[in-house]
């Protein structure tokens, strides 16, 4: 029973971070219909920003305030100069935008590899290895803080999308781009802002993950994969779905690692991904309608 509870806790804590990664992706996918295959790489970049700041003595959680605006600007730039021009281009395959993000991801990884080599870096803080206990269940201090911040961001994002004017414009663009344009929404600007927001959110996830994870250039790929598994699980463009998706993936991974073996961790995620695509296209969004 203790093992089960411990696995459950570990899965949920991990799931909180995954949710934050997933929200950025779900926004981008929902609004623009682009699968952003550079998502994990953007997170990797944020982790390196955190790392550099940490060598100057800045706490990883404070580097949120630097990494998020930086990545926001980068996202805005990518969308404006690389992705938006593709919409107008006359091509046979509509998937050119996806390929573009693959190219961006490769370039980001390699640029970072130039600057920092492939070596594993890590950030040590006073709380990196600290744990506290509730009953017999141990909680990692850093992961718990990260979980709290991640949930805060997610809730903030949810209310931003529901209540504010800009949030409403974003949702309108996601639902029907042409109709939104007709209603006076500057959809070009909205896509740029959305990509920026998505990048900033994943940057936050990167900062939170940095104290408890290794940092290396190739880290992006697996996290991109996780991000879209979460997005598919949760449903496109759904913040609540992303939370469910993130926690589900976190739980599935930790359960799989405990009861099947560590090496099956990734396969379990991918299997869920394919199953959801087949039997619940639209993800949890379909069940909750939010």
């Amino acid at each position: 029973m203790d093992v089960f509870l411990q696995t459950l806790v570990a899965g949920v804590l991990k799931g909180g971070l995954y949710a934050l990664i997933g929200i950025g992706m779900t926004l981008i996918m929902g609004v623009m219909g682009i699968i952003n295959l550079a998502h994990g790489q953007l997170m990797m970049l944020a982790m390196y920003v955190t790392f550099v700041l940490n060598t100057m003595g800045v706490d990883p959680y404070f580097s949120l305030f630097v990494a998020m605006p930086l990545l926001f600007l980068l996202g805005v730039g990518l969308q404006k100069f690389l992705l938006n021009p593709l919409i107008k281009a006359d091509t046979i395959l509509p998937e050119n935008q996806v390929l573009m993000t693959v190219g961006i991801g490769m370039a980001l990884t390699e640029i970072v590899r130039f600057g920092f080599t492939s070596d594993y870096k890590y950030i040590t803080t006073t709380y990196s290895n600290e744990t506290f206990f509730l009953g017999k269940i141990s909680f990692s201090m850093a992961l718990t803080i990260a979980f709290g911040i991640a949930i805060a961001f997610t809730v903030a994002m949810f209310f931003f999308l529901i209540k504010t004017d800009l949030g409403r414009s974003i949702r309108a663009t996601a639902q029907d781009k042409d109709a939104a344009t007709l209603m006076g929404v500057n959809t070009g600007r909205i896509t740029v802002i959305t990509f920026g927001l998505g990048s900033a959110l994943v940057a936050a996830a990167g900062c939170l993950l940095a104290p408890v994870y290794y940092i290396f250039p190739d880290l992006g790929g697996p996290f991109t994969a996780k991000a879209f598994i979460i997005t598919i699980l949760g449903g496109l463009g759904s913040t609540v779905g992303a939370i469910f998706g993130g926690v589900t993936l976190g739980l599935a991974e930790s359960m799989g690692a405990t009861y099947f073996g560590m090496e099956y961790e990734d396969i379990i995620g991918l299997t869920i991904f394919v199953l959801v695509l087949l039997f619940l296209p639209g993800g949890f969004k379909r069940l909750t309608k939010v």
């Binding site: 219909g33 699968i35 690389l82 021009p85 593709l86 281009a89 006359d90 091509t91 046979i92 395959l93 509509p94 998937e95 050119n96 996806v98 390929l99 573009m100 693959v102 190219g103 961006i104 991801g105 490769m106 370039a107 980001l108 990884t109 390699e110 640029i111 590899r113 130039f114 790929g221 994969a225 879209f228 598919i232 090496e263 099956y264 990734d266 396969i267 991918l270 299997t271 991904f273 394919v274 695509l277 087949l278 296209p281």
Partner: protein, 334 residues
């Protein structure tokens, strides 16, 4: 006949190459080029003609390669049997996958192919008893010289191009294009889109599997990270198709040539040009540039993707009129 004159002429030239060029290095590059022609044109049928973009070509490539390798390690037969069976194994993996996943459209299908490749890669890594896991499979190559491999690769490339041309000019070929252009319209005209998408996938899987089997025979070593590699196989296949020209018969051949050249240019530091220049002029900075360039080949790849998609979205062959106009200031000849 006149239309096919150029390809036949090229084939004749390529067939004569080993008579003149005995250098192993260039033969190796040419074999890689021919292998990529096979993979690229297979990708082009499923993605360029049928419009179902596959991000998981490595899955079929790996299936072919592992068929050859496993036959040799478990049954002790020659790996050349893989060349006969590799394509069919890839089809055997591809058809059930397609039957399930062709319910999804566009980008979702692309993601499913990505997942297929990941599952196979992890599977091959975990099943150590069967596949050897990360240790991989090592075989003794049958020939010391590269010339036999060259002719086999050339035969494969020629056969795959000929079959592609035959397929796209046949009735199913037109059905494929109609699915790409508008799946719903195609369906309402009575085309069994699910069936034809599966046919297209089977074709692509077959040729990619053949290329995989060739790779096993030629390279003599495979492991899950080499053959089920997202960047080096799947993305490279897409690049070959896109750079050359999506939805054109000879596009991938051009793309394969460009991509193998670019890859090698970076890997060898522009064929040792900078190193040579550095040695001649005695400047250290040029040598350093050479060292940096050889590390930058993936970066170069990434940037190439960005540039090609931005400026030549239909590839060299597809945008040829545009290139002629811009670069040579010639009119496309209305």
């Amino acid at each position: 006949m006149k239309k096919n004159l150029l390809p036949i002429l090229l084939l004749a030239v390529l067939a004569a190459v080993p008579l003149v060029l005995q250098d192993n290095y260039y033969l190796h590059l040419l074999i890689l080029f021919l292998m990529w022609v096979v993979i690229g044109s297979a990708w082009n049928l499923i993605a360029g003609y049928t419009g179902q973009v596959s991000f998981g070509d490595a899955a079929f490539f790996g299936c072919g390669a592992y068929t050859a390798g496993l036959l040799a390690t478990h049954f002790g037969v020659s790996t050349w049997w893989g060349l006969a069976l590799g394509g069919f194994t890839a089809v055997a993996v591809g058809l059930p996958f397609g039957w399930i996943c062709f319910r999804m459209r566009g980008a979702y299908f692309a993601l499913a192919t990505l997942a297929l490749n990941e599952v196979l890669r992890h599977g091959a890594t975990i099943a150590e008893g069967f596949t050897g896991g990360m240790v991989g499979i090592l075989i003794m190559p049958s020939f010391v010289s590269k010339i036999p491999y060259y002719y086999i690769a050339l035969a494969l490339a020629a056969a795959s191009l000929a079959s592609l041309q035959w397929v796209v000019r046949s009735k199913p070929g037109y059905y494929f294009v109609s699915i790409r252009e508008d799946q719903d319209a195609a369906e309402s005209l009575g085309i069994d889109t699910h069936l034809y998408k599966m046919l297209s996938l089977a074709y692509a899987a077959f040729w990619t599997g053949m290329a995989g089997a060739l790779y096993m025979n030629y390279m003599g070593f495979i492991d899950p990270h080499v053959v089920f590699n997202l960047h080096d196989i799947s993305i490279m296949a897409i690049l070959v198709g896109i750079v050359g020209g999506v939805g054109t018969v000879y596009g991938p051949a051009v793309g394969a040539f460009v991509m193998v050249t670019v890859q090698e240019m970076f890997r060898s530091g522009f064929f040792g040009l900078f190193k040579w220049l550095g040695a001649v002029s005695g400047s250290d900075s040029l040598v350093r540039v050479a060292a940096v360039l050889t590390q930058a080949h993936v970066l170069g790849f990434g940037l190439l993707v960005v540039v090609v998609i931005l400026f030549l979205p239909n590839g060299i062959v597809g945008d040829w009129p545009k290139i002629r106009k811009r670069v040579f200031r010639l009119d496309a000849g209305a």
